[in-house]
Amino acid sequence: MEIIDHYLYTKEHEWINIEENQGTIGISEYAQSSLGDITFVELPAADDEFDQAAQFASVESVKAASDIYSPMSGKIIEVNEDLVEEPELINKSAYENGWIAKIKLADLSETEDLMTADDYRKFLESIV
């Protein structure tokens, strides 16, 4: 299953792509395939602030609903409005077009709590 090398991951299957003090967040290929066809994404509002591991969005498929937790603390800069009309973008492109939100990071040291791509690969092997 595809895992992007330079992203960081959580045990809840979110990814974050850090560029300077900004992070783009989404859910992993594994998460989208376990959920199945996604029919709805509940997005946060711009300027909302979240602590690390706080729930900030949720996704629904026909038979499941899953909360999305923020991998790091920060303030929402932008949300992916395309997901309102096309929630299936997460299924089609979990790591690119299916991104959920961009946040301004509050504390870069929080990356210590996240998994690298290699760690996440091992983590997936341990649970599947």
Binding site: T39, F40, S61, V62
Partner: protein, 483 residues
Amino acid sequence: MKLIFEKSVEGRQGFGIPQSDVGPQEGIPEKYKREKPACFPEASELDIVRHFTDLAHKNFSIDTHFYPLGSCTMKYNPKFADVVTQIPGFANLHPLLPQLTKGETLSQGAIEVLYETEQWLCEMTGMDHFTMQPLAGAHGELTGVMMMAAYHKAKGNQKTHIIVPDSSHGTNPATAAIAGYNIVAVPSDENGVMNMEELAKRITDETAGLMLTCPNTHGIFNSNIDKIAKMIHAVDGIMYYDGANLNAILGRCRPGDIGFDVIHINVHKTFATPHGGGGPGAGPVGVTKKLEPYLPISRVVKHENGQFGLDYDYPHSIGYVAPFYGNFGIILRAYAYMLMLGQEGLKQTSNHAVLNANYIKERLKEHYALAYDHICMHESVFSASLQAQRGVHAIDIAKFLIDKNIHPPTIYFPLTVKEAIMIEPTETESKETLDEFIETMIEADSLSKTDPDSFHNCPQSTPINRPDEVKAAKEMNTNYFAS
């Protein structure tokens, strides 16, 4: 098939409204009036009768099909109960009548039914009191948990969570959350019952109570249940009996005798009231003396002179949980059912339910993986794991059964068993029906070996094939007039 709205012909009407005998009266001012009438169908009575008869033909039901739906107890609903609820003395009785000053004397019969049903349920379950108010099983559950919260509040207990088994029904956590509690789940042991060590680890002073079905969702009676009750009571927790499976143990065991403090009953399961395609139900709640002060009002009382009454004067009560006295029409059916069966008949229902479930379990266990190979109670849980290796999943077997005119068992529940197939035949089915079902299940297993692909087109015989649920969820077409 067309919608009833699409069959409308302008000017047609299915029911005649009488002419006014008071003549035209002064109307209400224009600003209070609606602009356009509601777009109800314009159809004759015959058009409407045919439409709904056609719709009826598109349903499976107990009257037409075997329904081995685990945990749902779809047993036959005897027809005499329909007659009972149509007796005008009950059907036309206004619920506010007993609230008039001497109104109780005008509704003695109805209050007597509530009182008598309470007596029967107390004796059957070992509880001291019952309320008939909750309008469904899940509503009963909420009522029970609200009483639990009231008990802890009155005692000044600081409680934060309710313990449930990992196989619990989704209503348990949803109910606990509404009452302000968290849920702590306990895993099952290798025998399919609650793991005692894991349970002990989770019981703390903050434990408000334990909620479980007994027998549990795996169809197994936990012999340690009274030990568990002692552990919960040691931290002043409340033992909550989810009555979803009470139909397995009538006359064999009473929740009140083995340490439970509160119980709700799903009357459609134990007392054969019709499921109605999803309600109406009724969820009477019973309590021991410990929780009695918190019961909802009104409470039914019998005065010394033999008259029945409704009493509202209970200062610790959690209050009203429903507008009146519960789903009276449903309670009346349950009462009639109990009267017919009596002591011996009630015991026999559990005997036959358990016998039927074990018969299916024994005959199918060579073909399907059994989650727990143990004498079961009213239901047993299989897994389609063997068939899944051949590409045939529980859902495929379910759709295959539909083509064979059998309603599928419960699938993918409990969540603790992969590819779960949960079978509950109930006591009202004959050995011939069970055999036919067993043969069909064996046929499905054989076919999974020879032609697994054939399952994916099932069902073929129904009015529709598999629906596109993703389209439904995305487009959200839920109203003809907005579509």
